[in-house]
């Protein structure tokens, strides 16, 4: 990795943002109605990017025009936000998305009504400039992941010191807390002595694998996704996979929301399809729980709710889930009408997951 200084990143970001303001300014000068073009950000407009092996936005676009009251408001907010980002870059600060929402208190008519509006605008800016939120010095409230296993990282702290940490020997049983910025300039990955990475949905299961010593017994790097994983988590998974070249397996519940998590890890999330090549790990494999597991292992289940069914049907038509295995599993689950959780394996005792289930599944997948 070539070393990139923060200053350089900042200047490039500002150039992109100025270009936006320039467009609006020019519209006024020419008597046109100012507008912004944005790709359509929905399932219907994502395409497979052969180069990176991930899903990205296609060519459909929508126009945000000052013709509509809401469009005009968003344009004004965009101008304010560009101004704010400029200030942060110039003073070397960063801000949470929630803080930015409150910052807008002073923006008069451009004030946001809800945080979801300001979050969305930040994403829009990413999309238009093809930059990442981190470049704008904006970060989410979300917690970063925890990892535990024999990997050594080097973190550049806020004070500028570098700190080398082994994520098994230098940390407690709770593991290493990943910072919200995991880009090279903040965190570099030194070395690893694991055979694969296993990303886990729930903390309970993460702790179970820690308690049962799965990291040592099976040479695994354990990573806690904390539900729908934060960008930094997905980015870290991507980097672990790319930089160390070891397999990534994902261990989730058997329900549509978990499949969505897997989709965002392996293929790219729809909301962040503009930066899928940075966030998605195309080689990641779905370990379980699969709908077939529900039957094969006779797991405790809950009935699918109407919402679940709608979500499953929506996934059936999702371009990312078109391969035969996914189609077969989802259709099977709809037929079954059931869902199950990873901790349901406890039905067979606390050690079943590490002694039986994971070795069997990893064996099938050729990872063990």
């Amino acid at each position: 990795m070539s070393a990139i200084t923060e200053g350089e990143v900042g200047q490039a970001t500002l150039e992109e943002l100025y270009a936006l303001a320039e467009g609006v300014y020019q519209d006024f000068t020419d008597g046109r109605v100012p507008e912004l073009q944005l790709p359509v950000r929905s399932k219907s407009n994502i395409e497979f990017d052969e180069e990176h092996g991930v899903w990205k936005y296609g060519d459909s676009s929508s126009t945000r025009s000052a013709k509509k009251t809401n469009g005009a408001k968003m344009l004004l907010r965009t101008m304010y936000m560009i101004n704010f980002i400029r200030e942060m870059i110039e003073t070397n600060k960063s801000s949470t998305l929630r803080e930015m929402y409150y910052i807008s208190e002073g923006w008069d008519l451009a004030k946001f009504a809800k945080q979801s509006e300001s979050d969305k605008l930040a994403e829009d800016l990413e999309v238009v400039t093809e930059l990442m939120r981190e470049d704008f010095k904006l970060r989410p409230e979300e917690d970063g992941a925890r990892i535990l296993g024999d990997v050594t990282v080097e973190e550049t702290t806020r004070t500028g010191d570098t700190r080398v940490i082994n994520c098994r020997d230098d940390v407690g049983d709770a593991g290493y807390s990943v910072p919200f910025n995991v880009e090279e300039e903040k965190l570099s990955l030194r070395s690893i002595d694991c055979d694969f990475v296993i990303a886990i949905e729930t903390g309970g299961m993460f702790d179970r694998l820690v308690e049962n010593g799965f990291d040592e017994s099976h040479r695994a790097l354990l990573l806690h996704l904390k539900g729908q994983p934060a960008r930094s988590t997905r980015r870290l998974l991507k980097r672990l996979n790319e930089e160390f070249g070891i397999p990534t397996v994902v261990f989730l519940d058997a329900d549509p929301w978990s499949y969505r998590i897997f989709g965002s890890v392996a293929y790219g999330a729809i909301k962040t399809a503009h930066i899928s090549e940075h966030l998605a790990t195309p080689g990641a494999q779905y370990l379980g729980i699969t709908p077939s597991d529900i039957v094969n292992y006779d797991l405790p289940t809950d009935a699918l709710t109407e919402q679940d069914e709608r979500a499953l049907k929506s996934e059936l038509s999702d371009p990312r889930f078109q391969d035969d295995r996914w189609q077969g599993e989802i259709e099977f689950q709809l037929e079954l009408g059931k869902k199950s959780e990873q901790q349901a394996l406890a039905k067979y005792g606390l050690d079943f997951v590490t002694d039986t289930y994971l070795p069997e599944k990893l064996g099938e997948m050729g990872v063990l």
Partner: protein, 645 residues
């Protein structure tokens, strides 16, 4: 003796007065409260009919005195033509006796039952005879008669008779003692008088209540409703049995003259066509027509083209008067939409439906059921709402389509609205003689539904137009604030001068906006300012036309070069540049504050799609007045000649 013989011995004839005495609830005497209301109603309806027939502006005085617990004396006095002495006993003391039953024309009373039934009820509950005081003109004496009904025979009995002094030149005064209960509220005498006054603005009604409260419902119009004309039956509106009876009783000796003389809209040529189509010889004697002949004639009636019956037998209230009446009731209403349907004359007695929808009055809250005001021949209907065709027609409509709340798309809707329905007919089909509800005749139901829907559509478009305009105004406000800020901010980011944004704004609004503003000042009137702003990117030549309320007086239009026709005020065409605005002003005098609540404006010269806050001007916009009686058809004239032959 067979059982049948035994039974036969009990068979007896029943007099009509016995029948109604037993079944007096059928006439609206269910209970003492209602009996009192019904008595007033019959008396006032009679008085109004009599005055109108005589061409007199009605002045009706009603007084109710409490004599003892539950016993009241009711006085109804009018300034009508009076009743000649010989007829008094029959008119007031015999059921099924009257002048209007055999006439085909609109009137309130019809059957000759109502007022006699009141007399009968009074005598039944108080034992007292009714006193009638009447005078037919200044040259005639005033008579005072006390009378009773012998209900076993349905015959009047005069108990006392004298000539008295009376200050009135003509008129009738009834004094009837009866059991009753006086109440106020939704179903009350006061309410009946009030709602009657709403649709009879030509009458002055006075009510003196038992506690002495005197209320005058003043006359609001000096014009009597157009006189209704009696018509003969139309061939397409009668039934076989009726035709047979008419043929049997006619004085005509030939079919053709029978058809011309006893029916309307049949001249010689039409009569001949009928005979030809039916195969009945023209010179047959009507008296000897067989059932099959009559059936053939009936068929021919349907085949031969005939002019519709005249409709001057009907007297609708008219949209203007309905609006005025409702405006008195609902002063702050956002909208009063009215419809007068064309008379429906094919088959059965002619009838005509009027409807109105009031929207957005404070006194009707959003959550409650809408108010329904029902009228038949200008008489308010207070009881049996659920059993009335007006109600069922309203209940059938899916009001959710008209932006009102309604559970399951049927039933009475909820919302801040009131619905008025008026059915005028030569023979209103009431569900019973108490005249509370109109029977469910499909044709009437259809007409009511059409009329109400028409008003509902206007209401919906009003609701939506209001929403649209509010949206546009909001947009204008916002755009005028936001765009300059965007321009400024983008300049700040780029560290340049603020660009000119006016052309962009024009591009955004892309409309010519009409925004009226009304202010009212006591003693001055309504000052109206209409601002026309050209928010398009090019200059526009426009002509503004506004509607002036029919009863107001126009003053000080500015600019003052104007035209005025059919209550439409129009200015000369004027050019407004892109981004510019012009203001037009005028004043209206002589109207109460609530009478001018919005301005109907039109723009001429630009595309409808570019107009906001007004309608596009179309030449054929028809002025609105009360419907005029139809012209008599020329074919009608032929009769006279024929009869003379």
């Amino acid at each position: 003796m067979s059982i049948a013989n035994e039974l036969a011995e009990k068979q007896r004839e029943i007099s009509v007065s016995e029948f109604f005495e037993r079944n007096k609830h059928i006439l609206g005497f269910d209970n003492t409260t209602r009996a009192l209301i019904t008595s007033i109603k019959e008396g006032v309806d009679n008085a109004l009919d009599a005055c109108e027939e005589a061409g007199v502006l009605p002045e009706i005085h009603v007084e109710i005195d409490e004599l003892s617990d539950d016993e009241y004396k009711v006085v109804i006095e009018d300034n009508g033509p009076g009743v000649i002495k010989r007829e008094v006993p029959n008119v007031f003391g015999k059921l099924l006796y009257g002048s209007r039953f055999h006439q085909i024309r609109q009137s309130r009373g019809q059957q000759g039952i109502g007022i006699s039934a009141v007399v009968m009820y009074g005598q039944l509950t108080s034992g007292q005879p009714t006193t009638v005081l009447t005078r037919v003109g200044p040259d005639h004496p005033a008579y005072r008669l006390d009378l009773r009904i012998d209900t076993k025979k349905n015959e009047p009995e005069i108990k006392n008779e004298e000539i008295v002094d009376w200050e009135k030149d003509h008129g009738t005064r009834l004094e009837i003692t009866m059991e009753g209960r006086y109440v106020r509220g939704a179903q009350s005498i006061f309410e009946y008088m009030r709602t009657t006054s709403v649709v009879n603005p030509h009458a002055q009604l006075t009510l003196v209540e038992p506690d002495g409260t005197r209320t005058v419902f003043p006359r609001a119009s000096e014009d009597l409703p157009p006189e209704t004309v009696e018509i003969k039956p139309h061939p397409q509106g009668i039934e076989l049995g009726q035709l047979q009876a008419m043929a049997k009783n006619t004085e005509a000796t030939k079919i053709t003259s029978f058809l011309q003389k006893d029916f309307c809209r049949v001249g010689l040529s039409t009569a001949r066509k009928i005979c030809e189509a039916s195969g009945v010889r023209e010179d047959r004697k009507p008296k000897y027509l067989k059932t099959d002949d009559c059936k053939d004639l009936m068929k021919a009636f349907d085949e031969v083209r005939m002019v519709s019956p005249p409709t001057d037998c009907l007297s609708p209230i008219g949209e203007a008067l309905i609006r005025r009446g409702l405006r008195t009731e609902f002063k702050d209403a956002d909208l009063i939409a009215t419809t007068t349907r064309d008379p429906e004359v094919n088959g059965g007695p002619p009838f005509q439906v009027e409807a109105a929808v009031v929207y957005g009055a404070d006194k009707i809250t959003e959550e409650e059921q809408v108010e329904i005001l029902r009228y038949a021949n200008r008489v308010p209907l207070l009881y049996q709402r659920g059993g009335c065709v007006a109600t069922t027609a309203i209940e059938k409509i899916d009001w959710r389509r008209y932006d009102l709340d309604q559970r399951g798309g049927q039933g009475i809707p909820r919302g801040s609205a009131a619905i008025l329905v008026h059915v005028a007919s030569t023979n209103v089909p009431f569900t019973s003689e108490s005249k509370d509800a109109i029977a469910n005749i499909p044709k009437i139901e259809d007409e009511i539904e059409l009329a109400v829907r028409e008003c509902a559509r206007k209401m919906r478009s009003h609701i939506r137009k209001g929403k649209k305009m509010r949206k546009l105004r909001k947009k204008e406000n916002i755009i005028r604030q936001i765009i300059p800020q965007i321009a400024e901010k983008s300049a700040q980011i780029l560290d340049r001068d603020v660009p000119d944004y006016e052309r962009s704004i024009a591009n955004i609004m892309n409309a010519v906006m009409v925004t009226p503003e009304i202010t009212y000042e006591q003693g001055v009137g309504h000052d109206v300012k209409v601002r026309v702003t050209n928010y398009t990117s090019h200059g526009k030549k426009v002509r503004l036309i506004v509607e002036i309320p029919p009863d107001g007086t126009l003053e000080d239009p500015n600019p003052d070069k104007i035209g005025l026709e059919d209550n439409k005020l129009s200015w000369e065409e004027i050019k407004i540049d892109s981004g510019e605005a012009r203001t037009f002003e005028y004043r209206i005098r002589g109207l109460p504050p609530d009478d001018v609540s919005n301005v109907d404006a039109y723009l001429d010269g630009i595309d409808a799609a570019l107009i906001a806050g007004a309608e596009e001007w179309e030449e054929d916009t028809v002025p609105e007045t009360a419907p005029a009686p139809q012209q008599i058809d020329p074919d009608e004239e032929e009769i006279t000649k024929e009869v003379e032959v």
